[in-house]
């Protein structure tokens, strides 16, 4: 298991995980946002690797990806961004999240080497499941980079057991059947599923997809180890960018939102 991720989960405090797309709306803004997220109480930072065809994402993250690609953000630039963050921040885990094609194109072993050099701690590859990830998984494991497994409402018990076999770091429970940014309504089923998974593993479980309000966060903190906030933050970036706001205002917007959902003044 990766040390940075392990250390974060040593405390009992519920974890706040955020997602932004690298280079949305440009790399300088991403740098400033990532510099500040830990100051706003963020425990783990997910960074999206832009892809032209993000089939599991809703409109908000699709557009973020498109904005980044327009700025010619590729994997090399994503790694530059991670290296930049690591110059000043040795503590906050960085998880790269994205789709398999750009990685395959970059080369699996080159990708993992770069991850290691850039201080990346974990990977979430949306369209790569245990059936097809042997090569990349083994490379990641050897380099102490966690493969963060997704578990969803459709995951069967048998499948859950297979997924847990090669899981490390933490588990990401997808709260809904749907794309990122959709609405989460049914907390009972999420709670039950998390309880079921907790019986089988000691890994921390965080919940993501559709989480936008402090009421939702409060409910989830009762039974899970953390929440992932993605589309809501990307939406703040999108709105401010559309209004030509300065980076200062984007940061203020994100800070205000994160304080609110954590119920802090």
């Amino acid at each position: 298991m990766n040390n940075r991720i392990k250390n974060v989960f040593l405390t009992k405090k519920k974890k706040l995980i955020t997602f932004i797309t690298a280079g949305d709306p440009n790399l300088n803004y991403s740098k400033k946002i990532l510099d500040n997220l830990p100051k706003y109480g963020v425990d783990i930072m997910e960074i999206g690797m832009p892809f032209s065809d993000p089939m599991a994402d809703g409109p908000t993250i699709q557009l973020a990806s498109a904005r980044a690609i327009k700025k010619k953000v590729n994997l090399n630039k994503v790694f530059d961004l991670c290296k930049y963050v690591r110059k000043t921040n040795k503590k906050t885990p960085i998880i790269l999240m994205g789709y398999y094609n750009p990685i395959l194109h970059f080369g699996n072993s080159k990708f993992i080497n770069e991850c290691k050099k850039s201080g990346v701690d974990g990977l979430i590859i949306v369209d790569l499941q245990p059936e097809n990830d042997k090569n990349l998984f083994e490379l990641a494991q050897r380099n102490k980079i966690d493969f963060i497994r997704l578990i969803t409402p459709t995951t069967t018990t048998k499948r859950l057991n297979e997924i847990l076999l090669n899981a490390s770091g933490f588990l990401y429970y997808v709260s809904i059947t749907g794309v990122t940014g959709a609405k989460l309504k049914d907390f009972k089923n999420v709670e039950q599923s998390i309880k079921q998974i907790k019986k089988k593993t000691k890994l921390p479980i965080v919940v993501g997809f559709g989480i936008k309000t402090k009421e939702q966060v409060k409910k989830i903190f009762r039974f899970a180890d953390g929440v992932v906030i993605g589309s809501s933050i990307v939406e703040i970036i999108e709105k401010k960018v559309n209004n030509n706001s300065k980076i200062k205002n984007i940061l203020l917007g994100i800070k205000k939102f994160l304080n609110e959902i954590r119920n802090k003044k």
Partner: protein
């Protein structure tokens, strides 16, 4: 015969044709796709299922489609003897219905209450809307807004058949984006919805399942050509976007080594222009829409927009079995431009009294190049996989003819 010495025993258990295929989708979809596979494996051997499919193929679609000796074109080109497999005479005007019937019968048996599909040229969308009307299931079709404009007759047809057509405005606003959006719908409505994929692509078992349902084309050709010529064809030729009509024609002949095969990709404005849809000539292996295959992509692994005058070929990928047959050199993959396809479109209309769709016009354009070089006793079978009624507006525009004046 084991998997190694036959081309017909692929994919393997994990859905790979050699290096290609597989299942690259979000975790949410994995259990459901495995369920589709499990059910398909049961029903493809089930007598009732097979009989019901046969019944509809015969009585609703009008199969078998004729194998027609294109006499005037044969004489005009002065080479090999040319037959058209007339799949454009199927109900709904293309080969797409063969697969849709198979998949909707499976969806019904799986108790699914809602059908979704993507479409490019609209032929698959029309075929899905048709079988949904036939079996009284709600139907949602995703179609790129660019394709909605250039294939308006098919959009109207789908609506008449009771389907809801949803315009997709993201990305290149064509087939690949329609498929992204259909996958997003599926991941959201995964419990009650069946996704009828229109080509031999997508996560396993789709490439195999669609191929199996389309392989009736080649099976019929084998019987028909034997009756007419008492021998195997020397050359099979078909156009290829995702590749369902091509594999449908080829599959039954794959182990008949004497039968040569050519699949014709769309070269759009020319391969060198960068504006084309030739995934094999201009692409590299990658992962998109649930399978590993050849894809048009940038240096950083972003999927490139395809270009073709034919909406049905306007896709930056190709079915994984074709990627495999390409690397095995079993099938020869070539490409022809928009311009050559239009020339063939006009040529066939005037000479044979058949207005072909722009998709098989690509196959025909290549046939025009190779037939004259072949001996008169050689037999060529081309898959006339769709009719051209839907394309008259596109062609008129290209030829600068105003239809309504």
């Amino acid at each position: 015969m084991n998997i190694k010495n036959s081309f017909k025993n692929w994919p393997d258990e994990s859905g790979f044709f050699g290096n290609f295929g597989g299942r690259y989708v979000a975790e949410t979809l994995m259990p459901l796709i495995k369920d589709v596979e499990k059910n398909y494996n049961i029903y493809c051997k089930d007598k009732n299922f097979i009989n019901e499919l046969d019944y509809y193929l015969k009585n609703f679609v009008g199969r078998p489609s004729p194998l027609y000796y294109a006499e005037r074109i044969t004489k005009d080109l002065g080479g090999g003897k040319i037959y058209f497999k007339r799949d454009e005479l199927n109900h709904t005007g293309a080969h797409k219905i063969n697969n849709c019937l198979g998949q909707i019968l499976l969806a019904k048996r799986m108790g699914k209450k809602r059908i979704i599909a993507e479409t490019g040229a609209g032929q698959h969308g029309v075929a899905v809307a048709t079988v949904c009307a036939l079996f009284n299931l709600p139907c949602i079709i995703y179609m790129g807004s660019k394709d909605i404009t250039r294939q308006s007759p098919n959009v109207f047809r789908m609506k008449l058949l009771g389907a809801k057509v949803i315009a997709v405005d993201t990305g290149s606003r064509s087939l690949k984006d329609a498929m992204n959006e259909a996958l997003r719908d599926w991941v959201t409505n995964v419990k009650n919805t069946f996704y009828i994929i229109g080509t031999v692509a997508g996560p396993h078992p789709y490439p195999k399942m669609v191929r199996d349902f389309q392989s009736i084309i080649g099976k019929e050709v084998k019987e028909q050509i034997f009756k007419k010529e008492k021998k195997m064809p020397d050359l099979l030729i078909a156009c290829i976007g995702g590749g369902s009509n091509a594999i449908g024609l080829f599959y039954d002949f794959l182990d008949n080594k004497e039968v040569k095969m050519i699949a014709v990709e769309a070269a759009g404005l020319g391969i060198k222009s960068g504006k084309h849809a030739s995934s094999l000539s201009g692409g590299k292996p990658g992962v998109l829409h649930g399978n590993k295959t050849y894809l048009l992509q940038t240096k950083s692994g972003q999927i490139k927009e395809a270009h073709s005058i034919s909406a049905g070929l306007d896709y930056p990928g190709i079915g994984p079995e074709h990627a495999f047959l390409f690397e095995q050199k079993r099938v020869n993959y070539v490409s022809v431009t928009d311009e050559e396809a239009i020339k063939a479109f006009k040529y066939c209309s005037k000479l044979e009294g058949i207005i072909p769709a722009l998709e098989p016009s690509h196959a025909l354009a290549h046939l025009i190049k190779v037939a004259p070089k072949m001996n008169k006793n050689k037999i060529i079978v081309m898959n006339m996989c769709g009719r051209g009624d839907k394309d008259i507006f596109t062609v008129a525009e290209k030829l600068k003819v105003k239809i309504n004046e």
